[in-house]
């Protein structure tokens, strides 16, 4: 049988792949997708716990995470498009104009 802990390990692996993507890649769009991957890994852990404890609250948390992620993507991609229009690049290493 599949253990709930197996599901949590899978969730942790996906989350850490997202962390690695944020830290290693330079393309802002890939960094963004890695953040989405982390949100999804957290969602999987929520659903696994909801299933383990037999409640619906975990599933509702996932529902709210999904709406927040949708809002975040809309605003974030708008910011990226605006940055690309002004700087002609989405390389996060070259976006350091706020640096004092």
């Amino acid at each position: 049988m599949v253990l709930t802990n197996d599901m949590l390990v899978l969730s942790a692996v996906l989350f850490l792949l997202g962390v690695a993507g944020v830290l290693v890649r330079r393309n802002a769009l890939v960094v963004y997708m890695s953040i989405e991957l982390m949100l999804n890994a957290a969602n999987l852990a929520f659903v696994a716990f909801a299933s383990a404890f037999g409640g619906l609250e975990g599933q509702l948390a996932v529902f709210f995470v999904m709406t927040v992620a949708a809002a975040e993507v809309a605003v974030g991609l708008a910011i990226l498009v605006t940055i690309f229009r002004q700087r002609k690049t989405v390389d996060i290493d070259s976006l350091h104009r706020l640096k004092g």
């Binding site: 049988m1 599901m7 890649r25 890695s34 991957l37 509702l60 999904m66 990226l80």
Partner: protein
């Protein structure tokens, strides 16, 4: 080895390799499609865990709406291929890989050896996590957060419109 375990490991393998593929693909369109694959496998996991409503929402909202938005952004920004070596922060990358691997070992050890067993995944009972059950809890117990979510989405819509407005075209 029973069927459940087989399905779990095959899907887990697909999800992890798709995530790795997303991290390492140079072509942005491929990266987006790999992430869609991860979302799809997660939807199947939700079905296994007794959350059919979330599985469908995962496919329509994440794999459908959000990833189409990402593809749209890829098309707008163009298939920009950045040099992944060099740059002012190049020294951070090996450090990041080592630290991530250390954290991975730690988390897997914690979940397999330290945390007490949470039991096996039981087959979901009929009606659990269905739209009716979710809606019942959502509109009775969590009505206020739900309404706040609508304000959040409105703010996001206005924000996206304001941010992408072309100032020259006014």
């Amino acid at each position: 080895m029973n069927a459940d375990l087989l399905v779990f490991f095959i899907l887990a393998l697909i999800a992890v390799s798709a995530a790795v593929g997303m991290l390492f693909s140079r072509n942005m369109v491929y990266a987006v499609l790999f992430l869609v694959l991860v979302m799809m496998t997660l939807a199947v996991f939700y079905l296994m865990l007794g959350a059919p409503f979330l599985a469908m929402a995962q496919i329509t909202v994440y794999a459908g709406a959000i990833m189409v938005l990402f593809l749209f952004a890829v098309m707008v920004l163009g298939p920009e291929r950045l040099p992944e070596e060099g740059g002012p922060l190049a020294w951070q990358r090996p450090v990041a890989v080592v630290l991530t691997l250390a954290f991975l070992v730690e988390v897997v050890y914690a979940f397999t050896a330290k945390v007490g067993g949470l039991g096996t995944l039981t087959p979901p009972s009929a009606g659990a996590g269905s739209p009716a059950a979710i809606g019942d809890v959502l509109f009775n117990q969590y009505l206020l957060p739900f309404e706040v979510t609508s304000v959040l989405l409105l703010v996001a819509t206005i924000g996206a419109v304001v941010l992408t407005r072309d100032d020259n075209g006014k």
